[in-house]
């Protein structure tokens, strides 16, 4: 836990998880422990927080943190160096590679975790000074298709609506979104709208989820067919006279071509239903509701974006809203739910390789404009490589220098094993990180730069509704950690660009970013926060959450876009898009008969570098699951709790089987979170195919053909320990934070010498309490250092009990004899009377029962015997019973 003393008052900052962008108040209690609560003044959440946000206080400990710069030595070990050495080596490597092999041999891979100011600094360095647009971000995996769809339809990457529209809608259509788990606070707002307005909720998703559980209509669509459904809807709107001709004529172009294509894809309701694998009546219901309710918000997330046709899916949705003029007005519009706290900020600064900066692209005018603003010597002249191609280029050796900031591509990218290998071959591999160890660091990073973490950083983030919030530090910088913007600026200075990166503080970067957004803008670009170009440091400090555009310091107009047209295309008209025939890039075949869908669990986020620290969040799912339909499970001979090896052409994972009737047949689901630090065989990215959308470059992460094999789990069990425990190769394990340490679950298909493993956990002078039922393959051990429990090992053939009660005993200074026994029984002793020391051995009567009998009137030894039989066999306990009676009588007299 970071020492903080007492906070004078709660610090208002922004949550580091999803794109909802909730405000959180961080408060220290008298003991110095810091807890998170929802900020009642923040418009995104109005005081609410989801379970992840609520557990933020558990994630700020320094366990495993990278606290000083490190450089990998010739022997391969990471060694501590000074900041100056690390920064100089980073700068020297970048300069050398760019000089020798050209600027395009260098790349940055950034993150929606970075603050806008960090992002701005990195983007400026690469695109203006190194001279390459090889700056991409993990947002490529998240909402790049929404960006591309927006730009194609609107001429700009504009989210037209606001969260208030969710409160004012009559129909909420969620496409490819498990908002109940992934955007819980917005989901609560939607449920409130359902309560308050009687709004209906429709969920379109191949699998039933926590979100669909509360839906009025659930459409379990065939994977990849979302655009067919919305094509069918467009046709239906046209044929039922539901088009808004006035809006279409005044503000759009291209409807005829788009509609003609839609008719080819989904000519009739019946055809739509067949293509989408849905009951016709359900499709009819959706169409009827959509037609009848002007106030409709269509929300979409990764089920739409993470597709090789993600941009077309977005366009198919936008087409329907444009065709009905339902955009930019209260309670209606398309709404992209972003996954990361600052995906939107990254889009604003140009953190994507196909954007230059401040929502400008790579036209000559724009390159010139940005170049003049930056005073940049070497502007990138064309789009850079998007994430998948970027790592292909790393693999091919054409990118030789890579700087990864605040993300874990060795886990999250498709073909993650290949990515890991590719990075190992880099000439110059720099990672800015919070953690000393993760899959990316362990892919052979040459230079580790210790970055400040959430809670220590100062800057701004932008949420899904374009609301800029301040992220404020409430913790001191630990060790030698520094903010990302400072690290980038220091490297830029060492590369000879000191003047352009000489920011005294983070507010000056924000002002520069704001000034660029309004530079020669004059209404030509949606993103304009010129009103902040001269924001004072003190006003920046207290900046309240605000939606852009902020064109002037007093810009308080409606923040919605496009109700009256005004699109950011040359003719100011929106474009209807004639989309391609919906299709998956790869279909199942006999060798790989299932489609693997990937996504999030309720209580984890991304690759768990943060949520993995919180015991509260680890309890929901300890290990990675594979969800499968019961019929498919039966075909494969799998039962809930079995292990299954899932194989694609790219990689393998071994996961715990969860039989879920909510899965569609032929479709599997696995979570994205587990990685080399938290599971031995849970890297789902390793299986994912690299096919990308031609417009957005976003990979199709939700439909990879895979095969399944049952793995006999062999000996199974868990270990609770203070530190990570090394398990023999071949053991399938997963690890989660618990109170006071780590919980590791394991399965050893080839067996495991559990007693020997327990002995490796025993400290010098410690003792082991054991339980064995060897015939059943049961072995349990509690390992003590003196009186203190330091480790617990449970192993058995065929399943394992819960550790929930054991966890409560972990870290206790001393355990009662009953608790020690209960520990190995795996059961809480609550409700079991503690019999106390045995007095009558013949009839197993304890002191507790004897005292109770005396209290109930047994006045002598014989009376106790009548009541309990105690003392009526061998009689050796009679003197002791007599003493108990005398003692109690003595006490009674004293009390009287």
């Amino acid at each position: 836990m970071n020492a903080l003393g007492t906070l004078p008052k709660p610090v208002a900052t922004a949550c580091p998880y999803c794109g909802v962008g909730c405000g959180v108040l961080m408060t220290a209690d008298a003991s110095g422990a810091i807890t998170a609560s929802g900020d009642p003044d923040h418009p995104a959440n109005r005081g609410r927080l989801c379970v992840k946000g609520s557990a933020l206080g558990e994630t700020i400990g320094l366990e495993g943190r990278l606290l000083h710069p490190m450089i990998r030595s010739r022997s391969g070990t990471l060694e501590r160096v000074s900041w100056d050495s690390a920064l100089s080596a980073t700068a020297e490597g970048l300069s050398r590679i760019a000089r020798t092999h050209g600027p395009d041999a260098a790349a940055f891979y950034l993150s929606g975790q970075l603050l806008t100011e960090d992002y701005y600094a990195a983007n400026k360095l690469m695109k203006g000074f190194v001279g390459t647009a090889n700056v991409d971000t993990n947002s490529r995996l998240c909402m790049a298709s929404s960006v591309a769809g927006h730009r194609r339809g609107f001429g700009s990457d504009t989210v037209p609506g606001t969260y208030e529209d969710l409160d004012e809608a009559d129909l909420l259509v969620l496409v490819g979104s498990n908002a109940a788990w992934c955007h819980p606070i917005l989901w609560q707002r939607m449920l409130a709208t359902k309560q308050a307005r009687g709004a209906r909720i429709v969920v379109i998703d191949p699998r039933k989820t926590a979100t669909s559980a509360d839906a009025d209509l659930m459409l379990a669509i065939r994977p990849g067919m979302d655009a067919a459904l919305f094509s069918g809807l467009l046709v239906h709107l046209a044929e039922t006279g539901a088009l808004d001709r006035a809006y279409i004529d005044a503000h759009t172009t291209g409807l005829d071509q788009a509609l003609a294509r839609a008719r080819e894809i989904a000519p009739t309701l019946a055809a739509t239903a067949i293509t989408c694998g849905l009951p016709e009546a359900d499709v009819a219901t959706l169409f009827a509701w959509f037609t009848a309710n002007p106030r409709v918000v269509t929300l979409y997330s990764q089920g739409v974006n993470q597709s090789a046709q993600g941009t077309d899916k977005v366009s198919a949705i936008l087409n329907c809203h444009l065709a009905t003029g339902r955009i930019g007005r209260v309670g209606m519009g398309p709404f992209s739910l972003t996954g990361q706290p600052n995906a939107m900020g990254g889009r604003e600064v140009g953190g994507l390789a196909n954007m230059l900066a401040a929502h400008m692209g790579f036209s000559g005018t724009e390159i010139d404009r940005v170049g003049r603003f930056w005073g940049a010597p070497r502007m990138a002249e064309r789009e850079g490589l998007k994430a998948i191609q970027m790592f292909d280029a790393v693999e091919a050796g054409s990118i030789k220098a890579l700087w990864v900031m605040a993300t874990n591509p060795a886990v999250s990218l498709p073909r993650a094993d290949a990515v890991r290998r590719a990075m190992a071959g880099l000439d110059h591999f720099v990672v800015s990180e919070n953690m000393l160890s993760n899959d990316t660091v362990n892919s052979g990073a040459h230079i580790l730069l210790p970055a400040a973490a959430w809670g220590e950083k100062d800057g701004t983030v932008t949420n899904s509704e374009r609301r800029i919030s301040r992220q404020r530090p409430f913790l001191p910088l630990p060790g030698e950690t520094r903010p990302d913007w400072w690290i980038i600026a220091e490297v830029a200075k060492r590369m000879g660009y000191g003047e352009a990166f000489d920011w005294p503080d983070v507010a000056s970067i924000f002002r520069e970013h704001a000034a660029l957004s309004s530079f020669e803008n004059r209404g030509s670009r949606d993103f304009d926060i010129g009103g902040f170009s001269h924001l004072s440091n003190s006003d920046y400090e207290v900046l309240a959450p605000v939606q852009w555009p902020v064109r002037t310091p007093t810009d308080l107009g409606d923040k919605r876009f496009f109700a009256e047209g005004g699109f950011f295309t040359p003719d100011a008209r929106a474009r209807f898009i004639a989309i391609d025939q919906p299709d998956l890039k790869a279909e199942p075949d006999p060798a790989f008969p299932y489609l693997l869908n990937t996504g999030r669990m309720r209580d984890h986020w991304h690759t768990m570098t943060r949520t993995g620290k919180a015991p509260t969040l680890g309890r929901h799912r300890v290990e990675p699951l594979l969800e499968i339909h019961p019929d498919d499970a039966a075909v494969e001979g799998l039962a809930a709790g079995d292990l299954a090896e899932v194989t694609s052409t790219h990689g393998k994972a071994t996961l715990r089987v969860a039989v879920e009737p909510g899965q569609s047949r032929g479709s599997l689901f696995a979570p994205i979170h587990w990685n080399g630090e938290t599971a031995s065989h849970g890297r789902i990215g390793a299986l994912v195919q690299p096919f990308t959308d031609p417009w957005s470059g976003q990979p199709e992460m939700k439909a990879t053909p895979v095969s399944l094999t049952r793995v006999a789990p062999g000996l199974e069990g868990f270990i609770l320990s203070h530190g990570a425990v090394d398990l023999p190769a071949g053991t399938v394990w997963a690890r989660a934070a618990i109170d006071g340490g780590l919980g590791t679950v394991f399965a050893a298909p080839q067996g495991l010498d559990a007693p020997a493993l327990a002995r490796t956990l025993k400290p010098e002078g410690g003792s082991i309490s054991e339980f064995e039922d060897a015939a059943r393959g049961v072995y349990r051990a509690a390992i003590f250092d003196g009186e203190r429990l330091v480790a617990v090992l449970f192993a058995a053939l065929g399943g394992r009990p819960s550790w929930s009660w054991i966890e409560t005993q972990f870290g206790a200074p001393e355990l009662s004899p009953l608790a020690r026994k209960a520990l190995l029984s795996g059961r809480s002793p609550d409700g079991l009377a503690d019999a106390g020391p045995t007095i009558c051995a013949c009839f197993a009567i304890g002191l507790t029962a004897i005292k109770a009998a005396i209290a109930h009137g047994a006045c002598d030894v014989d009376a106790v015997g009548v009541a309990l039989k105690a003392g009526t066999n061998c009689g050796s306990c009679r003197p002791e019973i007599k003493r108990v009676i005398e003692t109690l009588n003595g006490q009674a007299r004293t009390l009287a």
């Binding site: 003792s767 082991i768 309490s769 054991e770 339980f771 064995e772 039922d773 060897a774 015939a775 059943r776 509690a782 003590f784 009186e787 004899p817 020690r820 026994k821 209960a822 190995l824 029984s825 795996g826 059961r827 002793p829 409700g831 079991l832 009377a833 019999a835 045995t838 051995a841 013949c842 009839f843 197993a844 304890g846 066999n873 061998c874 009689g875 050796s876 009679r878 003197p879 007599k882």
Partner: protein, 402 residues
């Protein structure tokens, strides 16, 4: 007039028999109890507690004089029976008195064995059987007393513990490689040894007594390996021998003990035997519980009710204060059995349950024996455990809460 029932022996078995007869047929017999020890029947199990100073002499009395009177029993103690005339149906006392009987019960118990080694008859060599033995030990001990206890069985350990509590420096020597080898498995025996050592008792295993040495009284114990242990007192606790001489002399069938059938009848149907002097189905028991089981059966039969004794699955409770040890049945684990073990060295706890085809057949418990009787009951019932197995080793409350 009531039938005359004479009981030779005034120990725990006799007291139990009288108690049980009282419940079933008070008044049916006129009962005479003949006891050699000059006192009321007392709880022999408490002798080590008496030695240790944990109980008073009076606390050991099983039943007071009024109780005996209420049962209609004539007590004749301090007099030993010297002969039984099966034809005349009489018992002869050492005073020469002749007691006639209709029914006779022999409950003469057992006598400690003295090793057939030189010097075992020296003054200072004691056994551990009755009040007199304890009195002799208490008279002889002081903080400088060096006591050697020969025999690491139940009795020897209890004697060693009691002596140690008096302040004597105690060495326990045992021929076998572990303590209580007939009641404990090696692991349990090690725990017990450690616990005894922690209480200041020196334990020597594999120690074979060659002789007790001394001129006028005990001075040392010499082992066959040549070691000599200085001793002011030697306690022989190497076993017991059934007191069957009276029966043998009367012409009753006797092997090691007095042979009885399932009705506890000797070869003379009017004469019964029970307790440590009896031999049932080839077994002579040395514990109180079989004697009590036998007393119940015999009382029923004497009162004309059908009852049969089929033997007792032996359970051992070591009654040394603060050092619970329990074992029953096949605690070692023969071929084809499975063991469930729970051990916590930090709490000096060890529990082992032996199963055969999922049926409990034996157990050994150290450190915590509260569940011993429950296990014993399960062993006697002989049913498969099923789901009870999962937590059974943690005890009844855990297993049944499952």
């Amino acid at each position: 007039m009531s039938e005359r029932l004479v009981i030779i022996g005034n120990g725990m078995a006799a007291a139990k028999l009288v108690e049980e007869i009282g419940k079933l047929g008070l008044g049916r017999y006129s009962i005479l109890v003949i006891g050699a020890e000059p006192m009321l029947a007392y709880n022999r199990v408490l002798l080590s507690s008496l030695l240790a100073g944990e109980v008073a002499r009076d606390d050991m009395v099983l039943k007071n004089r009024d109780w005996w009177r209420a049962q209609g029993v004539t007590l004749l103690y301090g007099e030993a029976a010297t002969a039984i005339d099966t034809h005349a149906r009489t018992v002869v006392l050492d005073s020469g008195k002749i007691i006639p009987f209709d029914r006779l019960v022999i409950a003469t118990g057992s006598t400690p064995i003295r090793l057939p080694k030189p010097g075992m008859d020296l003054p200072g060599v004691l056994t551990f059987r009755d009040h007199d033995d304890v009195s002799a030990m208490l008279d002889a001990t002081s903080p400088v007393t060096r006591a050697v206890v020969i025999g690491g069985g139940l009795l020897g350990i209890e004697a060693a513990h009691g002596l140690s509590k008096t302040g004597a420096r105690v060495t326990l020597i045992h021929l076998m490689d572990r303590l209580m080898e007939r009641q404990l498995d090696p692991e349990a025996a090690v725990l017990l040894r450690r616990e005894l050592e922690a209480r200041g008792i020196e334990i020597m295993l594999g120690a074979d007594t060659a002789a007790v040495e001394g001129d006028a009284c005990v001075e040392a114990v010499r082992l066959t390996d040549g070691r000599v242990l200085p001793a002011d007192m030697v306690i022989s606790a190497v076993g017991i021998r059934p007191n069957a001489e009276l029966a043998r002399a009367a012409g009753l069938a006797v092997n090691r003990g007095i042979v009885v059938d399932d009705g506890l009848a000797t070869s003379d149907p009017a004469i019964s035997a029970l307790g440590e002097c009896a031999e049932h189905r080839g077994t002579c028991y040395g514990l109180v519980e079989p004697a009590y089981d036998q007393a119940k059966v015999l009382a029923a039969r004497l009162c004309g009710r059908p009852a049969a004794y089929a033997g007792t699955v032996l359970a051992t409770n070591l009654k040394v204060s603060g050092m619970p040890v329990f074992s029953a049945g096949d605690f070692i684990g023969a071929e084809g059995t499975e063991a469930i073990i729970y051990r916590d060295p930090g709490l000096a706890t060890y529990r082992k349950l032996v199963l055969k085809d999922d049926v409990p057949v034996g157990t050994v418990l150290v450190g915590e024996t509260g569940d011993g009787l429950w296990y014993l009951d399960l062993i006697r019932r002989g049913e498969k455990l099923g789901p009870l197995r999962e937590a059974i080793v943690f005890g009844r409350s855990f297993a049944e809460a499952a």
